[in-house]
Symmetry: C2
Subunit: 345 residues, 2 copies
DNA sequence: CTGAAAGCGCTTACAG
DNA sequence: CTGAAAGCGCTTACAG
């Protein structure tokens, strides 16, 4: 590979002039400029980014660290959609994107963790939907580069984050049900200790009940995991309650949970929404294809990915205080919700 | 940030010894080793990867260049699934993944193309489903690093590629239909000039017809684009043919095309599969949810992504001849295919 | 096993 | 506008 030296020789100038032309920094006569560009073209020369990064101390990349301990895996739809938003926004930025997934326990000595110390990282996007122990990320603070959590709201305020406003999302879902006339509204949610989303959606559910003057019934709450099986099991339990206590509506904290709830309802011979209403959370593509199509709270994953990159860029430039940004959810009303059966009598 | 120098001072050794300990190259006494490791730990020191890459001339990353000129966009399911496979396999490798999307025309002077000249790239994975002009990629050969096409079969044999065996996939689909007794089998495909997949699936279709002793009917072939609208339009045209010439089965070269064919069939009041059989290609998740569920040829995108990384690693290590690798498709028989109506009379 | 030295390919104040 | 020089933070033959 030719170096800047070779180009300088061919162009008949000093290598510092070549550098000035190619980086666009500093002033160069038009004549030298042309000679250098022509020589570079002839040799098919391109600056060695490693060398120039070392000398100039400029950072060229942003890291995306995704961490799947406890979490299903990166085939999840929401991850892919968010990633697509990130990639597209990165393409528009001046940065490259350096990717790394961690599966298994977070260990700062982990080979793969060294990725975080990559010296060309201007900042890190951190995707860790379930966090067992937040302090495991403490070492990231020692890097002295901005770290932005995505789709997770860390308790430690020193971290920046961008997340859906999950409480507002829960309000949209539950208010929709109370407005339809429901009073017995069950809740099926996720892991309260690991997932900030599970915490926020549950809190939002409780707040909306309170606002509507409905007392919480612990029998109608099932916090467990964000997957279909948990939805199905929970619904089966609800259906075993005495008829006066049984829910007329279920708020499922994810679409995958809602699919399980729907299945259990169908299996029990219930009609949706005539006998029971179901609201999900996420708005996956498949939620438009269920029978009936699912009423749900949309998370704009693609946009969240885009905004995350923009926010990280701001953090890189400003080096200021941590930023906490919420994205608005949207209620998508489809066929799985209606007024409760007793109102149609 | 501390440098190797600072660690050397604290440990009371020369910086070359620090380097030997931290890179694991060369022999060091156990005593020095401990001192160095302790000093590094104390200072929270990590090697500057940029500097060590420059000096050692070792490559640390693999690039994924995706190129969307002419192509829909990277939100496509197949891209996301393939990407997930790539990411997971990269995680298992010693490389980092450097990502870049190009939208718009391919121009070697394009700011974003400089990504390809990144000096820490050991190789490049190239994802360009539609290629207007293959020679636009010629400059990649000048990089002297392995380039591996994914899901596209370049005509230039100097390029390595990994792709589904699309002809075999078409055979699976069409043989399934001829085995059921169909003779009038329509084909709806993609852009023959831009897409190697479109070319291969079309050829496979023709080969299977020939094998079954069926003469090609140009009226039953509609090469256009890989999307739903094209499927719908093509089906409408087929249904306008005189009844004796009308197809009893349609092979759609992608699932999205099949969705359009299905819609047009339903809109015309046809029952699937009683009145007409439909086979797709891809096996997207949603193809299990159509009415009826779609018989289709599965592309194992995730596995293709994984294998692409493995193949690129081999190419990086061996620096040998280009490699051409095919992945096997699988026929997934669901409810959209059956024996033709006239056999049930 | 260890130190001293050269140098990877650039950038950038400095002087003129 | 341009050249000469220093040096970014490492690695690695070389000599002892």
């Amino acid at each position: 590979m030719p170096t800047i030296h070779d180009v300088a020789r061919l162009a008949g100038v000093h290598r510092s002039t070549v550098s000035r032309v190619l980086t666009g920094q500093g002033s160069v006569s038009e004549k030298s400029r042309k000679k250098v560009l022509e020589a570079a073209r002839q040799m098919n020369f391109h600056l060695n980014t490693v060398a120039s990064a070392l000398k100039s101390q400029r950072k060229t990349a942003v890291g995306l660290l995704s961490f799947w301990h406890c979490s299903p895996n990166p085939s999840e739809t929401y991850y892919q959609q968010t990633l697509t938003g990130i990639i597209n926004e990165i393409t528009r930025s001046k940065f490259n994107l350096l990717l790394n997934n961690i599966e298994g326990t977070l260990d700062p000595e982990n080979e793969k963790m060294k990725f975080c110390y990559e010296s060309h990282l201007a900042g890190i996007l951190l995707m860790a939907p379930l966090v067992e122990n937040e302090s495991a990320f403490d070492f990231l603070n020692g890097l002295n580069i901005p770290v932005l959590f995505l789709l997770y709201k860390p308790r430690d305020p020193r971290y920046s984050y961008i997340d859906l406003d999950n409480r507002k999302g829960a309000h949209l879902a539950v208010d929709h049900l109370t407005n339809l006339g429901h009073r017995k509204i069950a809740y099926v949610g996720g892991e309260l200790t690991y997932s900030s989303n599970a915490r926020d959606r549950y809190e939002g559910y409780l707040e909306s009940l309170k606002k509507a003057g409905i007392k919480e019934d612990p029998e109608l709450v099932s916090n467990g995991y964000f997957w279909t099986g948990h939805g199905e099991e929970s619904m089966k339990k609800f259906l075993k309650l005495p008829s006066g206590q049984r829910p007329t509506a279920v708020f499922a904290a994810t679409d995958t949970i809602a699919y399980g709830v729907l299945k259990a309802a169908h299996d029990a011979g219930l009609r949706v929404p005539q006998d029971i209403s179901i609201v999900g959370f996420d708005d996956y593509e498949t939620s438009n294809l269920t029978q009936p199509p699912l009423t749900t709270v949309r998370q704009p994953f693609y946009a969240i990915g885009q905004q995350a990159v923009q926010l990280l860029e701001t953090l890189v430039e400003q080096k200021g205080k941590p930023k906490h940004q919420f994205v608005d959810p949207e209620l998508i009303v489809r066929g799985s919700t209606a007024a409760p059966w007793f109102m149609n009598r």
